[in-house]
């Protein structure tokens, strides 16, 4: 692209340099095609990219890339109600994928991840009520078994 600009400069007035940061919709399209670790690296690049990466449709694409047929619209509303695709990815899908690497990602794993995600949402409804004596920063989570010990957030 830069070379083209150089050639064109001879005939035309200066063309401004292309910056991806000015075209966030293009950035979203690019990020949607990344895999998990690359997407997380991209989200750590700068604050703008971090904000763009918060777009849930990117994570939806990541979650369902290998599942066919593509899940339907009711699924999107249910997942959004339960907390969004990004959280689904981090809490359920990524640990499940990590621990079941040999299994082809299919509808069954998706169903299991969704069930676990739903239980997690339900428990968060209880955060105030249950662990009154525990420190408030420790919500109950049945997904604790999916997390490695240091990473408890």
């Amino acid at each position: 692209m830069v070379e083209k600009n150089n050639n064109e400069r001879q005939r035309v007035k200066l063309v401004p340099e292309f910056s991806i940061n000015d075209h966030q919709d293009v950035l979203v399209e690019i990020l949607r095609r990344l895999d998990g670790p690359s997407l997380c690296s991209a989200a750590c690049v700068c604050r703008l990219w971090s904000a763009v990466a918060r777009n849930d449709s990117i994570w939806e694409e990541l979650c369902f890339r290998q599942v066919s047929p593509r899940p339907s619209l009711p699924l999107r509303s249910v997942v959004s109600a339960l907390g969004g695709y990004k959280r689904l990815y981090f809490l359920c899908i990524r640990p499940v994928l990590a621990r079941l690497p040999k299994i082809i990602w299919s509808h069954d794993q998706l169903q299991l991840s969704l069930s676990l995600y739903c239980v997690h949402y339900y428990e968060r409804l209880y955060v105030g009520a249950w662990h009154e004596d525990a420190p408030p920063s420790a919500p109950p989570s049945s997904l604790m078994f999916l997390r490695k010990p240091v990473n408890v957030v």
């Binding site: 940061n21 998990g36 670790p37 997380c40 690296s41 989200a43 750590c44 700068c46 604050r47 703008l48 971090s50 904000a51 918060r54 009711p74 699924l75 509303s77 249910v78 109600a81 339960l82 990004k86 981090f90 990524r94 640990p95 499940v96 621990r99 079941l100 299994i103 069954d108 794993q109 169903q111 299991l112 969704l114 069930s115 676990l116 739903c118 239980v119 949402y121 339900y122 428990e123 409804l125 209880y126 009520a129 249950w130 525990a134 109950p140 989570s141 049945s142 604790m144 078994f145 999916l146 490695k148 010990p149 240091v150 990473n151 957030v153």
Partner: protein, 548 residues
């Protein structure tokens, strides 16, 4: 490479991508940004985790400081100081930046001996004294042990210290395997003495069990401690520490048990799968749950119903539970939470909670059943039916009520072991094997407060099993074949759990520690979850025989 530490704390603001820290005047905006910052902090952690770094973004500022400290120290130290590090120390995973740096720094500057270890050391001292410990003190010790592990695991990054202290303990022990065999023999002999009413012999044996138990480590120690306490209570005729009325405590304990190990999750997921399949094509469904507790089983079912082909049915739930100790309407609270969830996922939801001291107090007329053409009913019971076996006629009455309900499916989850034989010694032997296996399976779980609470949960069951008699003894577990007999004579036929349930269960178990040790078996259409070769809990489904 000195970074501006504030960069990690300021929230990203897309309008000013180069803005360092936003110091605006208004307090509400600060509060909003603080909330956003906490959320971003959480996201940052996850992003770092994917990249392989186990560090919290809130700790990044301290990590940077420590890196600088380490750098200066390494510059100042002489050669032999560094070579010490190479040979004598245990190195931790460098991707856990925070604890690794901590460790490196303490190697250079060894801190004064930690005071909290003296508590453990004091307890350790009494280990090696080997004096006889009377019955009650065993219980006090197991409490202490419970407090030990929970306090040490609460400190950040000190899970390592608990394992090192435990490993130093086992290095000093000798002949622990021989002691293990003696321990089991002592337990059996004590139970036999109680069976023969030789209470003085039993008393002497219990004391011996006490100090044999502390010579063990891990699961055997815990199991032996709980059984010894229960035996002591039986010998001295002491009532159990908490009566069965304290339901809120047992709810909490069951919650911890749910989080720590897969048994309850297995139970819920397999029962839900059976119910889901039975409800196929029905427009209005009704579930009657005999084991409401915190309602943990139902979110997953509601989510599956919400996403099924043809859209969700109208979902009605009737929850039955014992009265709460403080008279609070806890079933009502559970219903509210479930309603909140149902609204979020767009499932029409109706709820009714019933308080009953025992399931046998129920009557079908109370349940407001609607005609079966309109509404399909399922009945669910997880670890509740065995409690009825203590009352004469209890289980028959309940099965009669279930038949009156005419459910399309009746899912039952029970422990797979016979703890209801007429002879005390047989019950004792069976339960010793059963709970040893159960505690063994918990050993793979990293130590945490959850794990301790799960063990207390199981300990309560042990106590009830061994120390109580008559109507007080509610933990009357029976095997699948015994239940199958009972259901068969009452007019139920088995409904086979499909391969979907089996697949889901296998996947769920594979998530727990790689699934090592756990096994799912199919037995006459019922699914059994076991540890190695020993089945521990069974999910079965039943439907009414047409003739009845």
């Amino acid at each position: 490479m000195k970074r501006d530490l504030h960069q990690f704390q300021g929230p990203p603001d897309t309008r000013f991508p180069n803005h360092e820290t936003a110091n605006t005047g208004s307090s509400s905006k600060d509060k909003m940004m603080k909330v956003k910052e906490e959320e971003d902090g959480g996201n940052m952690d996850e992003l770092l985790a994917v990249l392989g770094y186990k560090v919290r973004s809130s700790e990044m500022a301290e990590v940077a400081l420590k890196l600088e400290q380490l750098e200066t120290m390494m510059g100042n130290v002489q050669e032999d100081g560094l070579s010490n590090l190479a040979t004598d120390t245990v190195h931790y995973n460098p991707s856990e930046l925070y604890s690794w740096l901590d460790n490196m720094l303490t190697e250079f500057n060894p801190p004064p001996p930690e005071i909290n270890n003296s508590f453990l050391a004091g307890a350790g001292g009494s280990d090696y004294d080997l004096k006889a410990i009377p019955g009650n003190a065993i219980y006090a010790r197991s409490n202490q042990f419970a407090i030990d592990s929970s306090s040490s695991s609460n400190q950040a990054g000190t899970t390592v210290t608990t394992t090192t202290t435990e490993s130093t303990r086992s290095m000093v022990l000798v002949d622990s395997q021989e002691n293990g065999v003696r321990l089991v023999h002592a337990l059996m002999a004590c139970a036999e003495a109680i069976q023969n009413n030789d209470l003085s012999i039993a008393e002497a044996l219990v004391k011996q069990i006490g100090f044999l138990a502390v010579s063990q480590a891990g699961a055997m120690r815990k199991v032996a401690t709980y059984f010894a306490e229960a035996l002591a209570r039986r010998i001295y005729r002491l009532s159990p520490p908490q009566t069965q009325i304290d339901h809120s405590l047992s709810d909490t304990l069951q919650m911890h048990f749910y989080e720590t190990c897969p048994y309850l999750k297995f139970a819920h997921f397999t029962a839900n799968q059976a119910i889901l399949e039975a409800f196929e094509g029905k427009k209005r469904v009704h579930v009657i749950d005999f084991s409401m507790n915190q309602g943990l089983q139902w979110p997953a079912l509601m989510q599956a119903l919400a996403l099924r082909e043809g859209g969700p049915p109208v979902f009605r739930l009737t929850g039955i539970g014992p009265p709460a100790a403080d008279n609070s309407d806890h079933l009502h609270e559970v219903g509210c939470k479930l309603a909140q969830l149902a609204e979020a996922i767009h499932v029409e939801f109706e709820y009714r909670g019933f308080v009953a001291n025992s399931l046998a107090d129920l009557d079908a007329s109370m349940l407001e059943l609607r005609p079966s053409e309109i509404e399909a009913v399922a009945v669910n019971s997880v670890f509740e039916l065995h409690k009825l076996l203590g009352r004469t006629g209890g289980i028959e009455k309940v099965l009669g009520v279930v038949k009156q309900i005419k459910p399309v499916i009746f899912t039952v989850v029970e422990q797979e072991s016979n703890h209801n034989g007429p002879v005390f010694l047989d019950r004792f032997t069976e339960s010793l094997h059963y709970y040893s296996t159960l505690f063994d399976s918990l050993e793979g779980v990293p130590s945490s407060q959850d794990k301790v609470m799960s063990e207390v949960y199981l300990g309560k069951q042990i106590c009830n099993l061994v120390a109580c008699e008559g109507p007080d003894r509610v933990e009357r577990h029976e095997t699948l074949s015994q239940w199958a007999n009972r259901f068969g004579t009452s007019g139920f036929a088995p409904a086979h759990l499909g391969s979907n349930a089996f697949k889901q269960a296998s996947m769920l178990l594979a998530l727990f520690n790689g699934g090592e040790g756990y096994s799912v078996e199919e037995n006459n259409g019922c699914l059994m979850l076991g540890w190695h070769t020993r089945p521990l809990i069974t999910t079965s489904a039943w439907k009414l025989l047409a003739a009845h």
